[in-house]
Structure formats: C-alpha cells, structure tokens
Symmetry: C2
C-alpha cells in the first residue's frame, strides 16, 4: 500500500528535541496545516468547522528505518526499561505512523496556500507530512476511564524561570509556548544533571536551559 502526503504542518517546533511527547499537553503549541496542491479544495473540509478537535495521522519522517525492533525504551520510563513497540507511542515502529489529536483553531480560506488549518496542542516537528485528517468523535474516541499502563498521567509541570531577562523582547505568545513546552521537561528521564545545558528550537528561538531541583532556568533565547 502506497501513501502520499496530503499536507504538511508548519509548527513551532524547529527540531525533534523539545516536541511534547503527546498532543494536547501544550495547548499553546501552534501548527499550520498546508495541503499539498492537489488537495487544496475547501469542499474537502466542509463541515469540519463544527468539530473542535481533529485527528492527524502523520508520518514520523525523522524516524524512518528499514528494520524494526520489537522493543523500545520510552523516555517516560527513564529510558532504561524496555516495552514492546506496540505498547508504546514511540516513533520507531514497523510502519512509522503517528497519531495526534489537536485542537482546530480556525480554517483560513483566504490564505494563498489555503485552505489552511490553524491548530493548537500539536506535538509535531515542523515539516511533518500528514497522511490523513479525521474529525474527533467523542462518543467513540473519548474513553477517560481507560487503563493506561506506564503512562497514566500527563507529565508533571516544572516551574520556569527566565535568567537575566532572557525573555526580553519576546512576544507574549512566544513566551507562552516556550514556557509551556520547557515546563514539561523534554529531557530523557534518566538524565538529571543540574550542570548540563540543554537547547532546542521553539517558535524560531534557540532556547538554552538548565534544570535543578525541578526548576527550569532558561539561560538564553536567541531569535
């Protein structure tokens, strides 16, 4: 079965490191879905505006491998315990397909590459190819009582501190998405080295931070 990308997303996440591990955790995380020219048809979205959330079926395009491994080490478990690949949402899977539910903010039909769908709560790296979009149907899809093995809760949020006015000149929206993203601590859980500086690219800014005693210290933010 051969699939084609119907769209790509532009997102606030310029690289894999820092991308939230599930969708919806960082509502500030924005995305813009741009259809491949063949699929730029407003009719294909008719009625979509009556749904608040969408499923994106996408390709883990930065995780494509030719072999497959039966187990993975989820960062959630400290990176040192193995679980089955089908018991995880790891990008390294036999078919590198991902699944995210995102909030539909608006549909811009006047965009030059439109219709363009504005999204919130994304957990996708910039440029991710989208292979399907489906409406979220709560009567079928929402199972709040489901038992969830090793991932029963959303990640804890750490407090975020900007050091030496590192946030100077940032817009409120950039500050919000940066803080919310770093607060959930992108580090692999097995790393807890207060001296280590981490970096990632969010909303066009190169962010550098350290973590000590469950406090995030953002050291710099270069646009």
């Amino acid at each position: 079965m051969k699939l084609e990308a119907i769209a790509h997303v532009r997102t606030c996440y310029g690289e894999k490191f820092g991308v939230p591990r599930q969708s919806g955790i960082v509502d500030e995380a924005w995305g813009e879905l741009i259809f491949t020219p063949e699929f730029r048809d407003p009719d294909a979205l008719r009625g979509l505006e009556d749904f608040s959330h969408l499923w994106l079926v996408f390709l883990f395009h930065q995780a494509i491998r030719t072999d497959w491994k039966p187990t993975v080490r989820p960062p959630r478990l400290g990176g040192n315990k193995r679980v089955g690949v089908f018991a995880s949402r790891s990008p390294f899977r036999p078919n590198p397909i991902g699944l995210s539910v995102v909030r539909l903010e608006s549909i811009d039909t006047t965009h030059p590459e439109g219709p363009m769908i504005k999204l919130r709560g994304v957990d996708l790296v910039d440029g991710t190819p989208i292979i399907d979009i489906k409406p979220y149907i709560p009567y079928a899809d929402a199972l709040p009582e489901a038992a969830a093995g090793f991932a029963p809760h959303a990640p804890e949020k750490l407090s975020v501190h900007w050091i030496n006015n590192a946030d100077q000149g940032l817009s409120d929206t950039s500050r919000a998405v940066i803080e919310a993203t770093i607060a959930i601590d992108p580090r692999p859980a097995y790393q807890d080295d207060a001296s280590r500086t981490y970096g990632c690219l969010i909303d066009g800014y190169n962010i550098q931070w350290k973590v000590r005693d469950k406090q995030i210290h953002i050291l710099s933010c270069q646009g």
Copy 2:
C-alpha cells in the same frame, strides 16, 4: 511511503454491510488480531496487557480507489447531505486509512499463530489489514467535551425481536453480538421501507431482518 500489513483481524463481521460505523458501540463485536509471521514476537507486546484499550490503524481494503472525491455523504446524515471527506470518517479517503479504538480482552501467547490479541468493540470487517497498534493513552486521547459536528451522539438503539424462534440453537454470545449489531440499525438513514428485507453476515450467521416503527424483526438466521 510504502506500508506493510503487520497483522490482520478476524472478526464477527463477514461483510461490510452491518459493520458498526464506529468502534466501541457494540462491545460484543469480537476480533482476533493475527500478526503477519514476521511480526509474531511476544516482545513487541510487552507491557500492552496494562492498557485496557488499543488504537488500531488499518486499511480500508474494501474501499481502495485510485481517484479521490472532496465530499462524501455520511449515512448518519441520511445519505443525501454532503460533507468534506476530512470532516468524515468515511472509508473513501485520499489515503484509505482507518482508525478504531478497541478493547483489549486478552493476549493469547499459546495460540499456534500467536501472540494473538483478542479484541472487543471492533468495527472492522473480517480480514482487515492492520498497519499499526498503539496503546490508548487517556490523558492525551480522551476529550469527552470535544464538539462533534454532525455526529454528537452514539446511534440510537432499536428494540430487537426474533420472529418464529429464528434464534433457535444460537449460542448466547452469537445472539448477543447479532442483537447488539442490528439494534443500531445498519440501514442507510435515507431508507425507511418497512417492506424491505435486509441481510448481512454476523458471527457466521446469515441474518435477515426488517424494520418497522423503530422495531427490528429478525426473520431468519442461517448458520
């Protein structure tokens, strides 16, 4: 991007007509997931037993077309109103990929083609190719308050009556899955012809029924 089936499901639904339009509506609907030989590795399922529900990403193998149409007519809307294909869960999509959350009943590691996963609540026709299995993670996937356009509620359940002891000799489990499936009224919503006999294949039985005044009358059930 080329995908391969990692598994297939055997289900109680011998043909497309009669298959529930979403997963979970008919909990009695059973499935058995059999991996393709290359993927028959119990390690790939390690930890899966701690999750109550799974996502199946599958191919709508009976709905594959070479062209695509921007709109579809959901049976839910009486089959006479068009909505965008991306605002629907129709099988006729640019990439014929489906998404269902099913209940994990058990994993049979002693099955000759094992590990075999026993499922409940399926909405898949027998033989559906599976391209991915993911654990259901309620903190990310469960959004009971999401707004759901034209499909805000599960379908209404009609009352089911067996005519002339048509259920004679049926096992309790077969009777349960047949009743629960026909109760949600597989007919396209634009058909309401009390004289018409419908038929489909459930759990190995060829079922024939009529619908009058929101009552299902099962006329025959041939094993």
